[in-house]
Amino acid sequence: MLNSPQSVASQLQSFQPGIPYGMGRSYGDACLNPGSFLWSTKGLDHFIDFDESSGVLTCEAGVTLRDLQGLVVPRGWMLPVTPGTQYVTVGGAIANDVHGKNHHVAGSFGDHVIRVRLHRTDGEVIDCGPDLRRGWFRATLGGVGLTGVISQATIQLRPIMGPWLDTETLPYTGLQEFFQLADASERAWEYTVSWLDCTSRCGRGIFMRANHSKAAESSVSRKQAKRAVPFTPPISLINSLTLRPFNVWYYKSQAHKPRCATMHYEPFFYPLDDILEWNRMYGPRGFFQYQTVIPSDARQEAIQAMLDEISSSRDGSFLAVLKTFGERKSEGMLSFPRPGVTLALDFPNRGARTHQLFSRLDAIVREAGGRIYLAKDARMPKDLFISGYPNFVEFLPYRDPGITSGMSRRLMDE
């Protein structure tokens, strides 16, 4: 455990090679290091400065987004970009250049980072940002921890009137309708996202969009109750028997909800955070997540082809998320977001069969010129990494020789 910014240098030197480890919410091996060290940033959880008039916040990298939002939201500020869970650290959000439901408006997390302090294993400390040592900044943003340990960061927050969102929920019955809705919502709606019924070949789903509410108060109360999955069942609860009825039920129940509602930001941004340890539902073998982005020109055909593959495999996921990205290009050399549409899917791990399905999905992604999200990957073949992330050659010189991860050994040979 990294205790303090002062002790980072000596700790990195005594335990090598390692990889920085925050909350461990990366789904794949980006935050794992079999046979080597994990440097936990849990002790680096101090705020350093917050200017309430400008919304500029500096904190250590182990601060979680939950802690951060809890501090700034009551004071009229919010993270301008937030992923689907608050249980990640600021350092992890930078290292994976995470995105949220407002990518078309606000870009990715890195677009709001002013400064990053990076500790290299040789003891060098590098302060970088969009206007300072930009190469280091672009390599570290989305660099999955391989350029050094981020010890602190400065972020520009956005002002808000209150914690409420005005939301709309619209069912759609096919991909074409989804794209129409998504394109039409880009101008007037800050947040857009959709849940996709991946057991239906036609690609029906539920489209959600939201804007920050002007009201500071709301009559809606925020339920705080958190439920937890108490233990890991011996087999995955998500299987071919449960999947279809689950998806049909979910589609029907959501489609009948009132179209407009005021919601607290937490259940809208972080729906799964209310179910602690939800990953246990997938049983002891766990699950894989497959998240890809497909460039705009090939989007409908590619997504349709993937849906066909998934529904004919009779595997599939309850949590399929489809969302369009805006035109804004991410700064990071290995950042995931790019103009197009992103599809995220969970699959229970069923061994070879699941991997075969992934290979077929890979072929579609490869042909469409898409890429797979490093934060969620545990198995993509190297050639797909190289074709998906053409900037990786530019990235390599910035790597820290004292840092490895399961992912770096798998995709970058060391």
């Binding site: 002062q6 101090h46 705020f47 350093i48 400065d49 917050f50 309430e52 501090l71």
Partner: protein, 253 residues
């Protein structure tokens, strides 16, 4: 808000992970707090203070450093802090887990470990308890450890120092039983802090410091004399304490 409405809190050993989580909870609960952080290393304690200032801009947070083994300095510090107005809460949280083997080989390491884990907290407790007795109010928390419940070969130097604190707190509780002063001995189980991060993977999951801090803050509010946290350690240690010697001596802990 007048000064008398503000809680006055002192935390000794404030850079300890459990202590700073307690501080965060107190600041969130009382909003306006006069908090004094006492430590050994100014840079480390300033880091904690900056964090708490961001979290609670309405509170006043001061830092002080002192020699943790100097009785006169400790006495003076307690006087300076309690003279202007009495304190409501004092938490004595410092401690350090020594390498047991090193303590056996090098008696100066052993002496240091006993001084910092037993003598020093007792001196602070004595100084503040006296002031609380005079003021007829206050809650004093001392962080002991489950390690103090029975001596074990893997850490009895640390354990005996913590065990000393238990007898000490017991005596203080007896002395102040009829006064409006409460003494709370906290016994955390192994908690996920830098102190335990180099331990080999324990068979039981480490407690999170947030959960432990929540128990401490709630327990001190109630004035519970002894507080095992997480609570399961009460049972675990009850079994361990009363295990017959012929069995106990065969287990490797």
């Amino acid at each position: 808000m007048s000064n008398s409405d503000r809680k006055r809190i002192v935390i000794v050993g404030a850079t300890s992970t459990i202590a700073r989580h307690c501080a965060r909870l107190w600041l969130a609960e009382y909003k306006c707090v006069d908090l004094t952080l006492v430590g050994r290393d100014l840079a480390r304690i300033e880091r904690v203070a900056s964090d708490l200032r961001v979290r609670s801009p309405k509170s006043s947070i001061e830092v002080l450093t002192v020699d943790f083994l100097c009785p006169d300095a400790i006495k003076r510090l307690a006087q300076d802090l309690t003279d202007p107005s009495p304190v409501d809460i004092v938490l004595i949280a410092h401690g350090s887990l020594p390498d047991q083997n090193l303590c056996q080989e090098d008696l100066s390491v052993c002496a240091k470990a006993i001084s910092i884990n037993a003598i020093s907290p007792a001196l602070f407790a004595e100084a503040f308890a006296g002031a609380m007795e005079n003021a007829h109010k206050g809650t004093l928390g001392i962080i002991g450890s489950v390690a103090g419940d029975r001596g074990r070969k893997s850490n009895y130097v640390y354990g005996s120092a913590k065990g000393f604190l238990e007898r000490y707190a017991e005596g203080l509780q007896h002395r102040l039983a009829r006064k409006a002063v409460r003494i709370v001995l906290v016994k955390p189980g192994p908690t996920e802090t830098p102190m335990t991060s180099n331990m080999p993977q324990p068979s039981l999951k480490l407690a999170s410091p947030e959960v432990v801090a929540r128990h401490i803050v709630d327990g001190m509010k109630k004035g519970s004399p002894t507080l095992y946290t997480p609570r399961k350690w009460f049972l675990i240690m009850a079994v361990l304490k009363y295990l017959p010697r012929f069995i106990f001596n065969r287990i490797n802990i």
